[in-house]
Every structure is written in C-alpha cells, then in structure tokens.
C-alpha cells in the first residue's frame, strides 16, 4: 500500500508495468502459441477420429475451445487475475454473462417454440 503506483491499473493488452526482458516476453508469446497449437490440433483430431466415444465429441470440442480462448486471453491479451487487472476482468465477466444469456436464451426459446409448433405441412393444410 505504501507505493500507490504498484496498485495502478494496467491497460488491457499491456503486460505488467515492470514487464520483463524481451526474451521473457517472447517466451510468453511462444508459450501461448504452443498451447494454442496443441489445443487446436487436439480439436481437429477429436473431430475426425473414431477413437473417441461419439456422443462425447461435441462436449470435448466445446471444452477445448473454451480452454483455448483462456490461453489466448492470458498469453496474448494479458488479461490476468492480478489486482492491476480487476477492471478488465470485470468487464470481461460482464461480456461473458451477456453472451451466455444471449446464446443460451435464444437456443432455449427457439427449441421450445420448435417443439410446441405444429409441423409446417399440417399448418399449411389448416390454413386452406
């Protein structure tokens, strides 16, 4: 608390204010790239293979995608859990909330409507 500048915020996309050497920063991006390649390759492998129990594939793909988004956020966008990043993380959390409400809500409502609606050919006959 004595040095207020250590408590200052960091702009999204910026690394820590006293960021390390160039070599360290390049290593950070390389780590992110390696993780991203690993997760992408796994995704493509899982989608095309017969080795995995089939109903589990969509779940596995979604989990892998979310993991890769996390890797990108941390290593490329430098969104961290540090105290200097609170504003950025809160904004991100709000965005994620809206995205979940939007996608989940749309799918839920439309599936419900679809389920309750008469098949189209019957509907057409009734209108005749």
């Amino acid at each position: 608390m004595s040095n207020a500048h250590n408590e200052a915020d960091v702009a999204p996309g910026d690394e820590q204010l006293d960021h390390g050497s160039v070599a360290q920063r390049i290593t950070g991006y390389l780590t992110g790239l390696g993780l991203a390649i690993l997760l992408t390759a796994t995704s493509f492998f899982v989608a095309g293979t017969n080795l995995v129990w089939e109903p589990s594939i969509p779940v596995a793909l979604v989990v892998l995608a979310i993991a890769q988004m996390g890797a990108h956020l941390v290593f490329f966008l430098h969104i961290t859990t540090g105290p200097d990043n609170t504003n950025n993380v809160l904004a991100l959390a709000f965005g994620v909330l809206i995205v979940i409400l939007l996608m989940g809500g749309s799918l839920w409502i439309m599936a419900n409507l679809n389920h309750n609606m008469m098949p189209m050919d019957q509907l057409m006959q009734m209108q005749r």
């Binding site: 207020a4 999204p12 996309g13």
Partner: protein
C-alpha cells in the same frame, strides 16, 4: 477538478491509499477499446445464436457435412494463430522502439492475414459456384453472415495494420501512435478468439454430426 480539492481535503485518504489521480491515457484508451471489443463479441454472439437456431433449416439443400473442407479450415486456423503470434512480436518491438522489427513483424502479420482471407474467399467462391450460396437456405444465409462478418473484421484489421505501419514509418513511436498499436493488437487477438468459436462451432461440430 474536484478531484484535486478532494486530495487536499484528505491527504493520505481514509482508504489508506494515496490519491493517484486520473489513470494515464494509455489505460483509459485501452480500457475503452476493451469495452468496444466486448460489445463486438456480443454482436458475434447474436450471429452465433442465429446460426445455431437455423442450423437445421437447410431447405433440402446441402448440410455443413456436405460442404466443409476441414483441411482448408486447418490452414486458415494456422494462419490466424501465426499472425496472432507475430502481432505479439510487433507489440514487443513497439515497446522496445525498434522500428525495423516492428515493420517486419507487422508485414508478416499482414501476409498471414491476407493468406487467411484468400483461402476464405476461395471457399466462399466455390460454395457459390456449387449452388450453395447464401440464397440457397436459411442455414447457408446464417453461415455466410457469421463467417463473412468475421472475414470483414479481418479485412478491416488488415487496413488498420497497414495504416499503423505507415504511421510508424512517418511519425515514429509517438505516444498516440503507441496507443493505436495497443488497440490494434487487442483487436487482432480478439479476432483470433472469435475464430476459435467459428472453427469449433461451425466447422468441427458441423462436420462431426
């Protein structure tokens, strides 16, 4: 200016923390652009929701499994990943004030981005040529809207990238130029995150079913 009065009234305020005044412009600008990116992601979420709802509405036309070529998608993904990495290198070069490395890294980023756009354009052209254009079915309308919107963002990003190269060349690493580079890097990395969702939801899940 009420903040200054506040500092005078409470030196070393009750919160136990010295008043450090308004945040530097770099943080304010970056944060504002971060909010814009999140709103952009929400716009993409609506397109994803539309796509998911219309996924089965093929009107007797081709489905995703008939149309998608995963090898192309893998190459596109590799291009975008590599461009995200070189964009990060460009950010480091900008922080180190190395104009040469900045221009090289941005040029490589641009090349990968253009490669991505070329493959995507090719894919769209071949779909339209096979009679699977956006007018064929609701599914294909949603597909072209979603993937095309991402492609438009990449195109805009490349224009921005070239602008930044020109501005660094003519004006050097001024603070305002550095802020624009920060925002550009955020934009470019965010496009990569959206592409993860695209290749997973549209291509991989679309081919698996």
């Amino acid at each position: 200016m009420s903040t200054i009065a506040l500092t005078d009234a409470h030196p070393g305020s009750a919160a136990g923390r010295d008043w450090i005044g308004p945040a530097p412009k770099r943080i304010v600008t970056g944060y504002g652009f971060w909010i814009f990116i999140l709103s952009d992601i929400i716009m993409f979420a609506t397109l994803f929701a539309t796509y998911a709802v219309l996924l089965g509405q093929t009107a007797g036309g081709p489905t995703g499994r008939d149309l998608f070529d995963l090898r192309n998608v893998a190459i596109e993904t590799a291009f975008l990943l590599a461009s995200s990495f070189t964009c990060g290198l460009a950010s480091i070069a900008a922080d180190e004030r190395s104009a040469i490395w900045f221009q090289i890294a941005m040029a490589v980023t641009c090349a990968f981005g253009l490669g991505f756009l070329a493959i995507e354009g090719n894919e769209f052209a071949s779909l339209v040529a096979r009679g699977a254009g956006p007018t064929r079915s609701a599914f294909l309308s949603a597909f072209f809207t979603l993937v095309g919107c991402h492609g438009l963002h990449v195109s805009a990003g490349i224009l921005w990238l070239l602008t930044m190269m020109a501005q660094v060349f003519t004006k050097g690493f001024r603070p305002d130029i550095l802020r624009r580079i920060l925002c550009f890097a955020l934009f470019w990395h965010a496009l990569d995150i959206i592409w993860i969702a695209v290749f997973t939801i549209v291509y991989l899940l679309g081919s698996a079913k």
